[in-house]
Amino acid sequence: MSDRESRGDGRPWEEWIRSAEDPARVADKPEALDDLLVLDLSHGHYGALLTATYLAELGAEVIKVEPPGGDPARSWGPADAAINGEGLAFLAESRNRYHVTLDLGKREGRRLLRGLAARADVLVEAFAPGHLDGLGIGYRQLRALNPRLVYVACSAWGHWGPHARNQPAEYDLTDQALSGLLHVTGDPDAAPLKVGSWIGAYAQAAWASVGALSALHWRERSGRGQMVDVTGAEALMRYLEYSVLLYHASGHVRGRTGLYELAVFPYTFVRVKDGWAFIAGYTDPNFGALCRVMGRPELARDPRFSTTLQRTTLENEVALRAEIERWSVNYSAGEILAQVLADPGPGIVVFGPMNPPARTLGEVHWWERGCFRRVSDPVYGELLLQMPAWRMTRTPPRLKWACRPAGYHTAHVLHKYFGCGPAAITRLRSHGVI
């Protein structure tokens, strides 16, 4: 702990932590991973792209290697908006990198890649399993060059296992299907529904980064790198909580329950005067608080609802949700939140509106905490971006720049790592290597 941090220990917690995490002072502090060199070979793969993004936010120097035509993911995003021809999905999550083009189909391109990999700490790729191995630049070959390399491979089915061969490309929807998440989302009498964002990619990236940093910690002791194999399906499957144990223990196959819940209730969305809102109070004291806030204390003693076991039968859930909605429709979400916050306890009600994104953006809380930032980028103009997810008092993560065109940093990186001056760059360019 620094002297500056230890001073003022007498202040209230909230005041102290707010100052210790002050988003305006991020640039004064060091970065957790700024000794790492990461090669981002993601190619048409959002999970691998995001893996490098997380590491870059935490301070790593990330070099994104794209083919001379650019990563196909550059076009990804909604049809009705793009900037300079770049899709918004790519622009939103390609921050803090150095953008280099290299043709890995050419011998000279592979030589340069090997030169970078020899010095890299982490390499992230998501080609079809075995593709880079076939080019002589997979983990088998690179670890001979750099035994300390942590090689992260993202794919739909993984690099080993009975179904690893001849696997198709990875998509978020198919990841969500394999993981079991799709099967439990939506109404029981309709088709399952996917999560609206590419959540499989975010989960895959979280696991790939967790795997990479664990491997780096072990490397500190062993001096050895290793390979990390991560699929979006398994990334989400780990989030399916008790589903497979419930089947093992009882034979019960968890299905879709719509706005109801097998494990906890009330834990649901209800109508309010101005839209929808989430409300929960499933433990006994919290359910008591909910009944009190609703002005219906007798419900807590109703034999249909008086224990967690009673509250989680489907029949009672339907009845209870109807009781809550009968009350909630009379108030706006803001009015109910005020009632919830005014309740003295015991117990606590968890309540909040179902926000369209525009309303989330209108809430001062997220702006004060630095969750969003408007940047004026020299290449892409005015951008509204989501910021790193973590707060860290000593090594806060940060946004440096949003994105750059393919090959924007090629000359810089080749100069830095290979001593290539302008003449060498021109030669490589004329040979189509970069």
């Binding site: 991973l33 529904l193 499957m237």
Partner: protein
């Protein structure tokens, strides 16, 4: 260039699951003190435990973590809810009453000998109510990494008095408003905000650990579940900033890839996406409609992803899937190098050779609970594979082991702590907290 014929054999040897337990662990020697409840905090600790950290889970004596009793009657098995186990593997379970002064002192002593503390109380609670917050614990351990998980964060207008669950995070982040179709909310079926938040929180802890490896300095790391989900909404914010509009809900469609959908088969549903021209042409041949690939409505990617056009593609794909099983669709799609995947259920997971071989579905035998089938670690590491060692245990199951081996307390002192109520085990007969019927001390350690 072709994929070398021996590549998959080589990879299978590197990751051989039969050798998992003989390989070293990435986080061996890292001790995590888990003061948290339900899923968000316990899962953060669990994920570090899977990678080799030693996790000590502190619970309220008597009843323990509320997940031990969650759910309707179908959840109860061997005197406990199945909901407890997924965030509590291979931990050491101690029952400590944090309201007792001696209990708080035990927490301070354990924190002094730990690398990482994880908690998910409301902001400031541990400091103000129990005297074991970050500022107190770092005094006894300046190298400590203190991880605090909350709904809205440690500070800011919403941090005061507001509790959070995953479902709330889904709603307030905006994720619910971009999920599903129609006006009514689609609640995401798992506790996504907890689980995704937990893996991000574990990532924050590991970044802090790397900084400590370099500098010797600990720090405070916080992760808020609402902020985790709003971070995971890809281009939602950029689009809103640029156009002033909210992105439109498209159900199982995709703004970027078309066609994209979920289709009924004879034995369930299948998800199918053809996101490139090559995949689309392949799909048209597969479903016996090669002419569609030449139709101006579908010929180019930009034409296909217009909502009206994408919807027109649903009917011929649905018709083709309807008469086939999920396995038939998947196999035919694979041959055509197309992405189609069965919408898998828990039974499918239990029976799937691939996920079992990769230990994503993990079978093990526990001395207290017997044979278990659980979801295994997500990332596969070749040299230091993550693993499950044992299942979650009754409240206070490892009191003696932990207090003797880590704090060096003798039996006399431990008896005093029990007598004073500072430590405890399960309450006799308390569902979820106590061992199963017929337990005769298996696995117990004194």
């Amino acid at each position: 260039m072709a994929i070398p014929r021996d590549y998959f054999e080589w990879a299978a040897r590197e990751f051989d699951p039969a050798r998992i337990h003989e390989k070293p662990e990435a986080l061996k020697g890292i001790r995590v003190l888990d003061l948290s409840v339900i899923y968000f905090g316990p899962a953060t600790a669990d994920f570090l435990g899977e990678l080799g950290a030693e996790v000590i889970k502190v619970e309220v004596p008597g009843q323990g973590d509320v997940t031990r009793i969650l759910g309707n009657a179908s959840f109860f098995w061997k005197n406990i809810s199945v909901a407890f186990f997924c965030a509590n593997h291979s931990k050491y379970h101690v029952g400590i009453d944090m309201h007792a002064t001696a209990g708080q002192e035990l927490i301070r002593q354990l924190a002094a000998r730990s690398d990482i503390v994880i908690e998910n109380f409301r902001a400031g609670t541990l400091e103000e109510k129990f005297g074991i917050g970050y500022r107190q614990l770092r005094r006894v351990n300046p190298r400590l990494i203190y991880v605090a998980n909350t709904g809205f964060g440690q500070w800011g207008p919403f941090s005061k008095g507001r509790a959070s669950y995953d479902g709330l995070a889904q709603g307030v982040s905006g994720l619910t408003s971009i999920t599903g179709d129609g006006d009514a909310p689609t609640k995401i079926g798992n506790y996504l905000g907890d689980w995704f938040g937990a893996s991000m929180s574990a990532l924050g802890a590991l970044a802090a650990l790397r900084w400590r490896d370099r500098s010797g300095e600990g720090q405070f790391v916080e992760m808020a579940q609402c902020e985790g989900l709003l971070r995971a909404m890809d281009w939602t914010w950029l689009y809103a900033g640029l156009t002033g509009r909210d992105r439109v809900k498209v159900g199982n469609g995709d703004h970027t890839f078309a066609p994209s959908g979920v289709y009924r088969c004879t034995d369930g549903y299948v998800a199918l996406v053809a996101g490139t021209d090559r995949e689309f042409q392949s799909l048209c041949r597969l479903i016996g409609q090669p002419g569609l690939a030449e139709d101006p409505r579908f010929k180019t990617h930009d034409a296909r992803r217009r909502r009206a056009h994408a919807r027109e593609l649903d009917a011929p794909i649905a018709a083709w899937c309807r008469t086939r099983t999920r396995a038939q669709v998947e196999a035919a799609a694979r041959r055509a190098r197309l992405s189609a995947a069965p919408v898998m259920t828990a039974r499918d997971h239990a029976e799937n050779a691939h996920f079992r071989a990769r230990r994503s579905v993990w079978e093990h035998e526990d001395p207290v609970y017997g044979p278990m089938l659980e979801y295994g670690p997500a990332p596969k590491l070749s040299a230091t594979p993550a693993r499950i060692k044992w299942a979650g245990k009754p409240v206070g199951f490892h009191n003696e082991l932990v207090l003797k081996s880590i704090l060096g307390l003798d039996d006399g002192r431990i008896r005093e702590l029990y007598a004073a109520g500072a430590i405890g085990r399960w309450a006799e007969g308390r569902r979820g907290a106590a061992p199963p019927e017929g337990w005769k001390g298996e696995g117990g350690l004194e």
